[in-house]
Symmetry: C2
Subunit: 369 residues, 2 copies
């Protein structure tokens, strides 16, 4: 089935996981604005960082074979599996579910079959969410998966979730998100005791709705209780007050995009500043090395790779328009999750939660949002 | 009752409104971190811009009289009304409601009595929201007041509401917020046809919950239909895609504070850039005039003055820690609202909405959030 490229796999290309297929990750090589070229370029970078990983490259085998023959590092760690179709960026998730032999579907199928521990795709987000949920299913004790990502703060990177996988969610969902965020922060940020905050409004009068208050209570009593710092506000995200910020998918999506928009506005204004006069341009040249470091710090590629957490398998969504560096970063994130017991930890923590039925019965109406 | 300061009111100090008391605004002179001094300094600046307005200064008459005697422009437009108490910044709204003779309460009472068209306070936000609602009551056809404010965008200032007055709200509330935002944009930004967007999540799969979808439908059919641009996302706030962004108080509060936090992080990183080396410092000096313009553009004082809209009277909340310039800006905002038919326009638009009962009956469960 899998077409190995015309290079010999090295002896040290042993799988890091104990999966039957032996692949760390399946890669949807046909998803994204510049696929498959930029995907392969990203794999070439990733291969340098993960020379012992084995990746399953899914897509048009003729194109992929040709591209791989010109990328020696990638070729050393990749096998190709043919998938005749690709899901267009504008296809509805319901339609995408019906495309049986898309590169995205075949890659996810490889995870479901236990051949690969995770999947990385830069393709259609809605399709990836839908296929991930339908094919991989949620972990035991996890009701709904969530989208998580990293963002910059004054005190290091922070984890924010849910970013839009769930518009409506209840208190118990928020607690599950906290558990998944905790595992994500440990696996990807390498934190040993990540602190957790629940996003809320700041007015003294209005400390949120029943849902967040109930979630806070459940978190305090949970296995995460010692690391739970209570409510945080919007400005705490970039302040880095806590390592993990938990919220529903509606608020999280708006917060993520509002923050991105604010950075973008500031960046474009700064650009105007430095082109406003000859002396300002000279000033830019003098401050350039430090400004370049600022640019690197804020580089969206550094934060590329939103993760669909809570499924039986690692699912990483790369930005569709990212370049090779960005895609390589998404692969890094997925590799961190695969090798650092990401899902095992979620299973362990979630198993300590009280049964869902009891909570729901005791608190009618918490499914408000 | 009102102690006029020891200066003669000029003949041109005629009220701009037809109120019985003849005051454009009542000022809570004792609210805020640096009250009453910074408040009086702010009034001194505002008096230059509004020489014909009459303001009712509420607070400790001895202290206010002394301060006013040293501020000639402010003295010309102000009368003093004594209030023995001040509401502390950390007092609970429920407790604040019981303080009968606080400067905030007496100022709001003056609006309720028709002596002043609006009130400006830099005091306790929760207390102002509670007192505003209880004493002034909502306008006819308006179910709940909302907090609105301006923010910077790539295409001019935008109006964002609700910023936290309502944690839970239904589709009809969102439509009312749009009506109030429309009037605010016309009165304060001077726009003749402000465009409106409803904040939503961006995933293709998930176009929000029933509530936002229903609100969008109602808006399309409303008197604002021609200016309604449909759903917008978090990044549209700073992109300036529309003039008015409507959302619930939970999401709005988080979006506002997330955006502020992002600007703050960027600003502090920029400061690090310009102090990182001698050449970077020199670069700063060269780019300084343009950087100062950037600083002015982003100056929070320029956006000082959140407005509690939907009440029988104009209520403007200045930031508690702002300086004289910031307070003067809050007074400007209130004056714009008083003089530009702010509440009249809301009444006119809201009167065209279908009766609330019908909508609620037809759509059970929309009060979700």
């Amino acid at each position: 089935m899998d077409t190995l490229p015309q290079v010999t796999l090295p002896q040290d290309g042993a799988p890091q996981s104990s999966l039957s297929g032996g692949f760390a990750l399946a890669i949807d090589a046909m998803g994204g604005d510049h696929a498959p070229e930029s995907i392969l370029d990203g794999i070439e970078i990733a291969a340098e960082r993960h020379p012992k990983a084995r990746l399953l490259l899914v897509g048009d085998e003729v194109r992929l074979g040709a591209l791989l023959s010109r990328r020696s590092r990638a070729a050393r760690i990749c096998a190709i599996r043919h998938a005749p179709d690709a899901i267009p960026g504008d296809m509805k998730p319901t339609a995408a579910l019906r495309v049986r032999h898309s590169s995205m579907r075949v890659a996810i199928d490889a995870v479901a079959a236990g051949e690969a521990a995770g999947v990385v795709s830069a393709g259609n987000t809605g399709a990836l969410l839908a296929l991930g949920k339908v094919v991989l299913k949620t972990l035991p004790e996890i009701d709904r998966p969530a989208l998580a990502a990293l963002g910059p703060s004054a005190r290091g990177d922070v984890v924010l979730l849910d970013l839009g996988a769930n518009v409506a969610c209840d208190a118990r969902n928020l607690v599950e998100f906290a558990i998944m965020g905790d595992s994500f922060a440990r696996a990807v940020l390498g934190l040993t005791d990540p602190s957790i905050g629940l996003l809320n409004v700041g007015s003294e009068e209005l400390k949120g709705d029943d849902r967040v208050r109930q979630a806070a209570e459940m978190l305090r009593e949970s296995v995460l209780g010692a690391n739970f710092r209570g409510f945080v506000e919007g400005h705490d995200i970039t302040a880095g007050t806590v390592d993990i910020i938990v919220t529903d998918g509606f608020t999280g999506n708006v917060a993520l995009k509002t923050g991105e928009g604010a950075f973008k506005l500031f960046g474009s204004l700064l650009k105007q500043v430095f082109t406003s006069s000859l002396t300002a341009k000279l000033g830019y040249l003098l401050a350039r090395p430090a400004l370049e470091r600022l640019r690197e710090f804020m580089d969206p590629r550094r934060y590329n790779g939103a993760v669909l957490v809570g499924l039986n398998g690692v699912v990483v969504k790369s930005h569709g328009g990212t370049d090779a560096q960005g895609f390589a970063h998404a692969v890094d994130t997925a590799m961190d999750m695969v090798t650092h017991r990401f899902n095992e930890r979620i299973r362990e923590s979630a198993a300590t939660l009280p049964p869902r039925g009891r909570v729901a019965a005791a608190e009618p109406g918490v499914n408000a949002r």
